[in-house]
């Protein structure tokens, strides 16, 4: 039963990811007083791309073909670490948050390789920017996870979620607030959302993610797009699991699971609205200010780690 629920929550993370993207786009359209596409649009986009022909630039090497599979594989693997409706995960084990951080880094590394391999100038520019952003985002990402792990004395994400579930909701400590702040900033940078990267553009000199995938088409592009949607959904789920797991099912009864699922949808919806408001209200940062943005995240996460010694004393 527990295994079945774990499998189901991984599937929800993977299959529901395009829907999350669709809802974000719809929310942004509503805030900008546009009509907006249907929330199911990302699914039809993916279906369309899967039916199309896969074109590879004549200058590209074998790396270019392998990258979509590696990226999709690592992202799927990350999705199986994150608990959704109950505090356990399909592949979760001790120390899995290190693996989570570096699996995401592996996917990004291969995507940057593909950006260089594609042969266009935009790909190289996007890849070098991606390298800058990801190397600066890695420290706050890991440190904020470490802070929460030290606070809860658990080394796996599911264990941290279970520990937080046992705490009083009013008993949030300084560590939680600081780590949440830093991790939220990292999520924005990692998933290429608004103050760092503009996810809606295909033709802008400052694009990061779109620059790297410019040469891809057909099923390869579909896998990359799907992987980035899964990554966004998994990061939101990670934020919820670490900082707001209240409502997760502690027993495997049908009622508890359905309540947990409803609460999870409500929390994701809240984060989506927050993201849409930020993206509609904030201007994109200049590329040279992105290190400052992530520097702030690093300082806050370092402070979170320091605060664990004060709180646990």
């Amino acid at each position: 039963m527990k295994f079945a629920i774990n499998l189901a929550q991984a599937l929800i993370l993977i299959l529901g990811a395009p829907l999350v993207r669709g809802i974000i786009a719809r929310c942004k359209a509503f805030l900008q007083r546009r009509q907006g596409a249907s929330i199911w649009r990302p699914y039809s986009d993916l279906a369309k791309l899967f039916r199309k022909e896969d074109l590879v630039p004549s200058t590209a090497s074998g790396v270019f073909r392998v990258v979509p599979c590696v990226l999709f594989g690592t992202t799927i693997c990350v999705a199986t670490f994150v608990p959704l409706v109950q505090p356990s995960a399909l592949l979760g084990s001790r120390g899995d948050f290190f693996l989570l951080v570096y699996l995401l880094a592996l996917g990004r590394f291969f995507l940057s390789l593909a950006g260089f391999d594609g042969g266009s100038a935009f790909g190289g520019m996007g890849a070098s920017r991606e390298a800058l952003v990801s190397s600066l985002a890695e420290a706050p990402f890991l440190l904020s996870l470490v802070a929460v792990a030290v606070l809860s004395s658990h080394a796996d994400i599911a264990g941290i979620a279970a520990w937080t579930l046992g705490q009083n909701i009013f008993n949030i400590s300084a560590v939680h607030i600081l780590a949440f702040t830093s991790l939220a900033m990292v999520v924005i940078a990692e998933t290429g959302r608004m103050p760092v990267d503009n996810p809606t553009t295909h033709l802008e000199l400052t694009m990061i993610h779109e620059g790297m995938v410019l040469e891809y088409s057909g099923p390869s592009l579909a896998f990359i797009e799907w992987a980035s949607a899964v990554k966004l959904h998994a990061m939101l789920a990670l934020l919820i699991a670490l900082f707001g797991p209240w409502g997760m099912a502690t027993s495997a009864s049908v009622g508890a699971i359905s309540v947990a699922l409803l609460l999870y949808s409500a929390k994701v919806a809240l984060l989506i609205v927050l993201l849409a408001v930020i993206e509609s209200g904030v201007a994109k940062l200049r590329m040279y200010l992105v290190p400052d943005f992530l520097g702030v995240a690093s300082a806050v996460s370092a402070l979170a780690v320091i605060f664990t010694t004060l709180v646990k004393r």
């Binding site: 600081l178 702040t181 400052d292 690093s298 300082a299």
Partner: protein
Amino acid sequence: MGLVEIATGKVLTSFSVFLFLTVLLLVVARRISTCIVLFSAQSAIIAAEVFATGFQERLAEAYVVGALVLVIKVAVIPRAFFGLANRLKTSHDVKASTTPTQSVFIAAAMIYLSYAAVHSYGQSVHVPEDALAAAVALILTGSFLMVSRNKALMQMLGLLVLENGIFLAALTTTFGMPLIIEIGVFFDILIGLLLMGIFTFRIRDTFDHLDVSKLRRLRG
């Protein structure tokens, strides 16, 4: 009834974290208007702590002080600042002499330093350590803002942040000063703000800018 008591307890123990957040945001903010809004939010948090202390210690005076904080520091001073910034017709930039990353690391170090400073004192006297550390951190950050920002307006704001820290320190150690002294302090701030406002106008009229790093020589 029970809920109100829990809420006041939480305000006293956890709101200092939000004060640390405002401190971190203040040192990275690049626009004067952001700093003013942050100062207003910071004062609102302190007002909440005043009300919570008043409720917990059954002090009627604290409510008056809290209301004064709400009116003067959350509403009047920020409005006056916005008006001043508009009428001075100066740029929005705070003219920081450190980059935001440097500033935030310095602020983080100061927060840690303030914890280290109050640790021994907090154990000998029975006071909430978080709130006292937040007060020390506010004092340090206010001074840091004053020395590292070149816009004359930011010196005023730094002074106000510093004053917030002193007020919070008094609140946490002795449950606030007597009412008459508090009123005197508030009056002092208002007069000080008035004088500094006039002074910034004079700087602007004489030098055509508000950059204090360029005030090197006297002019008639």
